[in-house]
Symmetry: C2
Subunit: 189 residues, 2 copies
């Protein structure tokens, strides 16, 4: 998506440790108009898949995912990190390794919100190693729900997570795939 | 907002400890169409205030706030809970007491995203005692930014937080104000 690639080139900042900071337009300060365009782009890609719900993980996936859900006309469900006091009853739980924080944490979704009748589109802002995604896919599997595909704003292609999922047969659509990045520049696939 | 009040009556569940669960349409599973209507309602209330940015706190405020930001045509900034590894440079920090979790935690916003030139609309899903809001207001004060007002989806009026803020001179617009609730029913102001 050229609009997103151009914005990354203009406002993204490369940091040591393979970090791309996009905090001024995507995940701390958020350009709502850009997110609406991003939402429409994911819908263009997935509108014929019979999606019943959008699934994401708190917190930086939520703003993007709600735009996708709105344009698709379906609900959004977001997985909660850590033990939530406000989820009663039955929950699905999985573990996620965070690339950014170098630790493992639990994610949970109330069972009533994902059923075998669901066909899900999983949305997130970044994909690096793909570890966060495996936790969400695990929850979908436990629920018996189908996964239509995965939608990622920015994939760090050089970290292999997206390609590993594609090799497993998942449809992974990333609006910007970074093949390499350094303080000298960013190269898209 | 009748649409929201009706939805609360239909899908909200009262729990012990003054908890109102709206997890099937507002803050775990989210009705994106409803949130768009909520966003439009807040814009109807605040569109003439010269708002430059919408401010909220992760995570359950984000989906609502991005809809408000989109319809207002301004960016959204969300305060992050706990120490964030991805906020470098100067940050504003404050403390928040959580009604739900009965503990205090830090919230942070990068200083570059709130300046004295800003006039903010603060959005959140719930207001109970108002403690979360004081943390956000503290950050606005530290930044020297003006606060046009506060927009809340569901105010638990009987807990007094909204009225205390109104008494201090803040404009607080809540789309549903609950005067009393029990397992027998919910009464709106």
């Amino acid at each position: 998506m050229k609009l997103l690639e151009d914005r990354i080139l203009k406002d993204g900042q490369v940091r040591a440790g393979n970090i791309l900071k996009v905090d001024n337009f995507l995940n701390h300060q958020i350009d709502a108009q850009l997110l609406d365009e991003i939402g429409r782009e994911f819908v263009r890609l997935y509108k014929d898949e019979g999606i019943t719900k959008v699934l994401t993980i708190e917190a930086s996936g939520i703003a993007i995912a709600i735009m996708v859900a709105y344009h698709l006309g379906v609900p959004l469900v977001f997985a909660k990190k850590a033990k939530s006091k406000n989820i009663d009853g039955e929950v699905y739980t999985s573990q996620v390794e965070s690339f950014t924080y170098k630790r493992t944490y639990d994610i949970t979704v109330a069972q009533k919100f994902i059923t075998p009748q669901d066909k899900l589109l999983i949305i997130d802002d970044f994909m690096a190693s793909g570890k966060a995604m495996y936790g969400l896919l695990d929850i979908c599997a436990k629920a018996g729900a189908k996964v239509a595909g995965i939608g990622i704003c920015i994939e760090k292609g050089f970290q292999g997570g997206g390609d590993a999922l594609r090799a497993k047969g998942y449809r992974v659509e990333s609006l910007a795939i970074i093949e390499s990045m350094s303080e000298d520049g960013i190269v898209f696939r």
